[in-house]
Symmetry: D2
Subunit: 247 residues, 4 copies
């Protein structure tokens, strides 16, 4: 499989290039970055690209790939409904291409979210703790927010009400942020990278699902999985979950 990387000189891109080079059955045929021509993809015979570029560049990159029958695995951010609709239309006219847009390529993070949502309906209580380095600007993290949303939806579907909480006196903030009825706690600790723990509890027992991301290379296996599956998934796929055989 001939793979090209767009955004190849960024921190993430470099790791992906290394990952593709080391992967069995894959050849890295082009490394493009700012200023390079997309025509190089055709010249190199790329069958699939990985795009970790910029919201300003990614739509043009994908239009080119779709036109030329090249599959795409995309980690660039900034996709809203409008952009997804544009891609769907383009892919409708060019049924030979597949595009995977994923906000998160860490298989561990995806499984943490999925298992948490699946378990949520069976436990009276559930809260989310996320721990990151102290240079992070937002609290809670995007992943924690998404996890809480998924848990809240699963509880509603199962007919569960709010988790029990008898707190009547306390200090503001102690009980965390409320995300769709689910409590989320954000720690900022020097030395940490990106970590999350979902604690579920019922009578006499707890189930804890924890994801630790210790190095940015954690998304490489997910990108490689996306590349291996995209050829058999024409059209638009959103979220790497679709390529994990969990059911």
């Amino acid at each position: 499989m001939k793979v090209a990387v767009l955004g190849a000189r960024g921190k993430v891109g470099r790791e992906i290039c290394a990952g593709v080079r080391a992967a069995e059955g894959m050849a890295l045929v082009a490394e493009l970055d700012l200023g390079d021509s997309l025509d190089d993809l055709v010249a190199a015979g790329a069958e699939a690209i990985v795009d970790f570029t910029h919201p300003d560049a990614v739509m043009a990159n994908l239009a080119f790939c779709i036109e030329h029958g090249i599959d795409a695995v995309v980690g660039t951010t900034g996709f809203d409904e409008e952009r997804l609709a544009t891609l769907r239309a383009q892919l409708g006219e060019n049924p030979g291409s597949g595009v995977l847009i994923a906000p998160n390529f860490s298989i561990g993070a995806i499984l943490m979210m999925r298992f948490s949502a699946q378990a949520a309906r069976y436990f009276e209580s559930v809260e989310v703790i996320e721990l990151h380095h102290p240079d992070k600007a937002d609290a809670p993290s995007g992943t924690a927010g998404r996890t809480a949303d998924l848990i809240a939806a699963a509880r509603r579907e199962a007919g569960l009400g709010a988790p029990p909480d008898a707190t009547s006196t306390g200090i503001e903030g102690a009980r965390g942020a409320d995300v769709d009825g689910i409590k989320v706690h954000s720690l900022r600790i020097r030395g940490l990278v990106a970590h999350q723990e979902v604690v579920l509890g019922g009578s006499g027992e707890t189930l804890t699902i924890r994801h630790d991301s210790l190095d940015r290379v954690s998304f490489v296996p997910g990108v490689l999985l996306g590349l291996r599956r995209i050829g058999a998934a024409p059209g638009l796929t959103v979220g790497l979950d679709a390529f994990l055989d969990l059911d």
Copy 2:
């Protein structure tokens, strides 16, 4: 729903009686133990029983229930293939009854095992740690052994070989017990009850699934779930997993 408990005066049985009494839509109509007559079940109009008795008693209890069209949720141990075949034959002749045989009613433990097996195919490394009070006779625990078996099977199915391990020098036992190629570590610590942690790791990330059982009441929600589902599940069901809607 009219429920009877067999083994009602044992530690476990007492908790189940309390759980049934407190459960919405259930009535505890009979509490039997050693010396009581099974005819009481019919007299009390029991629709389903819970059996936490003894391997010596359970087959007779179940034969009676199957004959009388009473469903059964069974936590008693000692079921081998021969016993299961006997039950299947009896249920075949009495299609009105359902019997659930479950080695474990803790929903948290069941989800831990299931999630561990599902995740196993996506991670290079995986090991199991189980922690119990120091009065436990066996190491590793039965749950840890089953978890390792499930993980090993999932890895084989996914074509994964042995987890990487460069250990060349060391002290005997440091790397744990080998259960079907999966390392299992057993801690015995005063103050603990029953705990297990499955640590999975791949490039740059780890996923940890931990179950803590802090009180014997942890099996009550699973027994109640079994009771709620057994009426719609005629025949023999092995394992509570079948009643969790995880797919």
Copy 3:
């Protein structure tokens, strides 16, 4: 050593009676509760008492003990500076007695607080997570508040400023409660008892100190330690820390 327990029929008192009975070198000579006469202590020849009674009763109990040269290990709450001053005056006049007043007899909790305060000066970041059952009324817990106070004091003494935190956008409460400049996060989860984790972090590493209290018997070893040491500690001692040889 002849020991009497005041408050012997309460939940805590019963555990202490059992602990004293099982302890080597101790005899339980009297079990008093509401309505019993303190004279029984003298009649039974009690050398030391354990008091887990009520703020309304404890000062009279201690006055009696001090007058009669009986040592006291006290877990009853409600001691303010005025009460301590009263005890000091009484003990000054009766130098034969020792009284230990301790807000916490769990050796694990005491060590967690002490180690956290000792480590605090060496790490840039530190936050506290406490996890309890959802029937608890206050958040954060008293232990978490005390821990944060001790950490804050240790950081000030070491000349450390506020822990780093670049949070600029977020949801209210995500970053927890602020206790003297230290962030404290409170989780309320069914199935849990009383748990606390202090996470300290510096460049490239974290140190986590966690205490899990799984059963009310966790204070028994601390009470027995208090009894063993109180005979050699005349006067007033506040906090079991004083009897742990940590320096």
Copy 4:
């Protein structure tokens, strides 16, 4: 304070150079590696050096420093009693120099070991879990072995016997390695770096002390602390503990 680094081009050395450059009140005046002359230290006016070189080189480096009144903070391995005696003799003749030999500069690891040993005398049970990447050759790790030794010594001093363990049947290795009577469990997981957890337990409670080293820069604060204190500590000091004010 004028600091020179020996072994400056190694992985560790480069991090130390960066750390010294960023440290308040320190100037990096020389970066030496294989082939450079020690005379550069004098020319640069170095007041203290950091040595992360090789057992073959370190004794000559230190002899030079001691002769020239330069303090030394040493992370190079291979020091036995004979080498320490040699250094003591040299320092006796040159009382102006201080040398710190430390097997571990991670403050988190040092505190973990110290707190574990201090707590050990108060808990019936204690075991050690260490988790590392799967390319590590030895199991258990050196740090885990040292921790177990310290714990075993503390228990002996407190008159404690072997931790309770009723294991009578099991799979070989499940209960871990026996290090001086203390059980040690070694996990090897891809994605991890270097982690250790000491679990102590008594009636109804556990205390867990965990150290996570996520990045090799974790030793930098310890090296800087050594540099700041070595000027006031003439002669030989073994172990960074001596410079932590823990008592």
